[in-house]
């Protein structure tokens, strides 16, 4: 008998793909049914996923879990704020998670929780080690915004794990996916024709390939992999290097007031900059994926560079692409 999976935040571009992939596995693959939960209707076709329109911040979630007899929860409703107002995002991230965990704690059927967290929990500061292992925490402190939400959500999940030790908990700390169809802050940043960067800083960035992200999320649901795992493509790429590969000019801005200046530049170019991206674009971040390889048992198929290269091929060539030429 297969699992009945609840995917939260299913309207998101990545969550909808994961839920469809899970639904396509079918009973043979170990998944009986997939239920998607979100407040917004999903944009694309969800295939065999049953969509429930409900607000995760309300106790309705508990009813959904009880009625659908959910035994596995894949919590992907964790997203940075869109645009400038961040109040709504925090509400959804933190209160939504609390409601979901409260519902899970009540349920006697739920046996597994997979949390789609982010590497943003490590923060981004000059005091960071070159690569974060899972045991590390943010060195420079985390003050606000989405990283803070993620840290709080993870701490709630740890508290939940203490209260219900019988439930398997997998926390996947993923780097941002770089794919033309997946809506992430870095994708919208790299979509702008001119890339604002902090003068005097060249951050190291890591990207995650969509195929790897899908495979890992599916594997975490289907098989039992308790623990916390960093998920990111191997290797790092410097921001300047990424800009050159994409053939886009870099606009250096003073590091003081970089956040607002960069946001203004990107908005004037018709894009949107996530409010928490500026720290990543100043100090960068890289994570160690040894645990994913050795304990989780997944061999990453795409490096950071390959992910960037695939992204480049899907993009229109940048202004400076002539300098690089075809490679």
């Amino acid at each position: 008998m297969g699992r009945v999976v609840l995917v939260t935040g299913v309207a998101g571009s990545f969550a909808s793909r994961v839920s469809r992939a899970l639904a396509e596995l079918g009973a043979d693959g170990g998944v009986d049914r997939v239920v998607g939960l979100d407040l917004r209707p999903p944009e694309g076709d969800l295939g065999g996923v049953k969509f429930v329109r409900a607000d995760i911040r309300t106790p309705v979630v508990a009813k959904v879990i009880a009625v659908e007899e959910i035994d596995t929860v894949l919590h992907l409703d964790l997203a940075p704020a869109e645009g400038r107002g961040s109040g709504g995002a925090k509400e959804r991230n933190v209160i939504g998670t609390m409601q979901l965990l409260a519902a899970c704690q009540r349920s006697s059927v739920v046996s597994k929780l997979v949390l789609g967290s982010t590497t943003a929990v490590y923060g981004s500061s000059p005091r960071d080690p070159a690569m974060f292992a899972e045991s590390a925490s943010a060195r420079g402190g985390i003050r606000s915004g989405f990283p803070k939400d993620a840290v709080e959500v993870e701490s709630y999940v740890r508290g939940f794990a203490r209260r219900r030790p019988d439930i398997l908990i997998t926390t996947l700390r993923s780097a941002q996916i770089l794919h033309p169809d997946i809506d992430t802050p870095l994708r919208s940043y790299f979509n702008t024709p001119i890339l604002p960067a902090a003068l005097g800083y060249d951050p190291r960035l890591q990207f995650l390939h969509l195929d790897d992200a899908l495979a890992i999320a599916t594997q975490a649901v289907v098989s039992d992999r308790p623990g916390t795992f960093n998920v990111a493509g191997d290797g790092v790429v410097l921001l300047s290097q990424a800009a050159r590969r994409l053939g886009r000019p870099v606009l250096p801005l003073p590091p003081v007031g970089f956040a607002s200046a960069a946001g203004r530049v990107i908005r004037s170019l018709g894009g949107e900059m996530s409010p928490d991206l500026h720290r990543l674009l100043t100090h960068g971040r890289a994570v160690d994926t040894t645990a994913l390889r050795e304990i989780f048992g997944y061999e990453l198929q795409h490096t950071t560079e390959e992910t960037l290269e695939e992204f480049r091929q899907a993009q229109r060539p940048g202004v400076l692409a002539v300098l690089g030429g075809a490679r």
């Binding site: 000059p126 005091r127 080690p129 590969r245 300098l323 690089g324």
Partner: protein, 474 residues
């Protein structure tokens, strides 16, 4: 320095190979038979005054031959100096005026081209390492060649000038354009490229252009720490004159740098500005053939430009995770455990080692099972003698100290030039850590003992080196 310049100039001469041939004749042959009738005209221009006074032309030519091997820029000045003398002596008036303007820009373009390419050629030459024998032989052939040029030119001067005059009158109609003929620019560039890059200049130019192209397209690899080997190599070449000529660096105990596998270099820290780290990295790369991965304070990575550059040349944050990651992957890491206490100590306390941190470097080395190499650096203390400190301003700026040296801030930017002290870097006998028990890294008493052992070794070596060095500056 002199040798280096000569190799830059003479690799071209050796490659050209034609004994007694002038540079322009070689270029002519390169440019093809079509350029042949044209070329003597340009060559005849400088010696044009020789027609009126051949005796006067000869000494000026020898002056040029003397200056030519020393510096390309100098040869430019002599050439351009010669050009204006010609119209003055010229009796042909309007006919001569055109070639005169022609000659001056031509010489300018030849001179500019090597300047532009010289920067590229410099580092590459060091990397390629031309055998000294070839350069010396090239030198010996170069001198007679240049003398031959003067003779030939002087002899050809009269005939060529006459031909030129005839040609000028002949082609007065169509060739009256004021600019430089394209052909001559091409010839000049080819000549310049040959002079700078040597006989296989086409291949070498192509490789450097493609390297630049790859760089601009972002097609290069960095490791997880942000280490960029290409940038690092450029830095080593850039630091070489500073280390070898300015600081007259002497390196001892090179054999103690492991040829392979991980090692932890532990050194004393001094000099107000961490130049000792840069020079040690240079010494390890140049004499040991390994890349040093320095472990720096977080302040380094918080500073714009500095932090970016530090990561690109291989530095990373001094923390247990990074140290162990580097050491266990077989890299040579460098630590300066005194930290800011060592680098910012007053000049009066020079060469007195400060506290060696908490000994974290020893436990990192033990966990990775790599040897600890004590490194004693003499000379860095004198580059910026720290005589004062402005703690309140430093705190305001978030710095550990704000240095006052005899020349800074008194002389402004001039005070930032390091004093030319004599440097000695000695790599000591490695201290093995792989013989300890696995849980030794958690034994604080053992860690303190090893830390003290390393510290004492460095301190004693420093005293010895100071005696060996004698005067700090001469």
């Amino acid at each position: 320095m002199n040798d280096e310049r000569r190799t830059i100039g003479t690799t071209g001469a050796a490659g050209r190979g034609a004994k007694g041939a002038s540079p322009s004749s070689a270029a002519r042959s390169l440019a093809g038979p079509g350029a042949r009738p044209r070329k003597p005209v340009t060559k005849a221009k400088p010696p044009a005054p020789a027609k009126t006074a051949p005796a006067k032309a000869a000494p000026s030519k020898t002056a040029q031959s003397k200056s030519a091997p020393s510096k390309t820029t100098q040869s430019k000045t002599t050439q351009s100096k010669k050009a204006p003398t010609k119209p003055a002596s010229g009796s042909k008036g309007p006919v001569k005026a055109a070639p005169a303007t022609k000659a001056a820009p031509a010489s300018k373009s030849t001179a500019e081209a090597p300047k532009a390419t010289a920067g590229k050629a410099g580092p590459k030459k060091v990397a390629a390492g031309p055998p000294p024998t070839s350069s010396s032989s090239a030198r010996s052939t170069a001198k007679p060649r240049l003398r031959a040029v003067t003779d030939e030119d002087a002899a050809a001067a009269a005939a060529a000038a006459a031909e030129e005059a005839a040609k000028a009158t002949r082609t007065a109609g169509p060739a009256s354009m004021p600019g430089i003929p394209l052909e001559e620019i091409v010839v000049a560039i080819v000549q310049a490229a040959q002079r700078v890059l040597g006989s296989d200049w086409e291949r070498r130019l192509a490789t450097s252009v493609s390297a630049l192209r790859r760089r601009l397209s972002g097609d290069y690899e960095i490791d997880a720490f942000g280490f960029d080997p290409q940038i690092s190599e450029i830095l080593v070449n850039a630091v070489e004159p500073l280390a070898e000529k300015w600081f007259r660096l002497e390196v001892r105990g090179v054999e103690n740098i492991p040829a392979e596998g991980g090692a932890l270099l532990v050194a004393n820290h001094s000099g107000t500005v961490p130049i000792d780290g840069v020079i040690t990295g240079y010494a390890v790369k140049k004499y040991g053939g390994r890349n040093l991965r320095p472990l720096g304070a977080d302040l380094v990575f918080a500073l714009p430009f500095v932090g970016q550059m530090a990561r690109k040349v291989g530095a990373t944050l001094a923390c247990t995770e990074d140290a162990e990651r580097l050491l266990s992957s077989g890299e040579i890491a460098g630590v300066w455990p005194e930290g800011f206490k060592g680098i910012g100590k007053p000049f009066a306390e020079r060469y007195k080692l400060q506290r060696f941190g908490r000994g974290g470097f020893v436990s990192s080395a033990m966990r990775a099972g790599v040897p600890i190499v004590p490194v004693s650096i003499v000379g860095a203390e004198e580059i910026y003698p720290l005589v004062g400190n402005v703690p309140s301003l430093a705190r305001l700026l978030g710095l550990p100290y704000l240095p006052v040296t005899p020349f800074f801030p008194l002389l402004g930017p001039l005070g930032m030039i390091p004093l030319p002290s004599k440097w000695i870097i000695e790599f000591g006998e490695p201290i093995r850590t792989d013989a300890y028990e696995p849980d030794a890294a958690d034994d604080p008493m053992l860690l303190f003992n090893v830390t003290d052992q390393v510290r004492e070794t460095i301190q004693q070596t420093l005293y010895g080196l100071l005696v060996d060095r004698g005067n700090a500056f001469f």
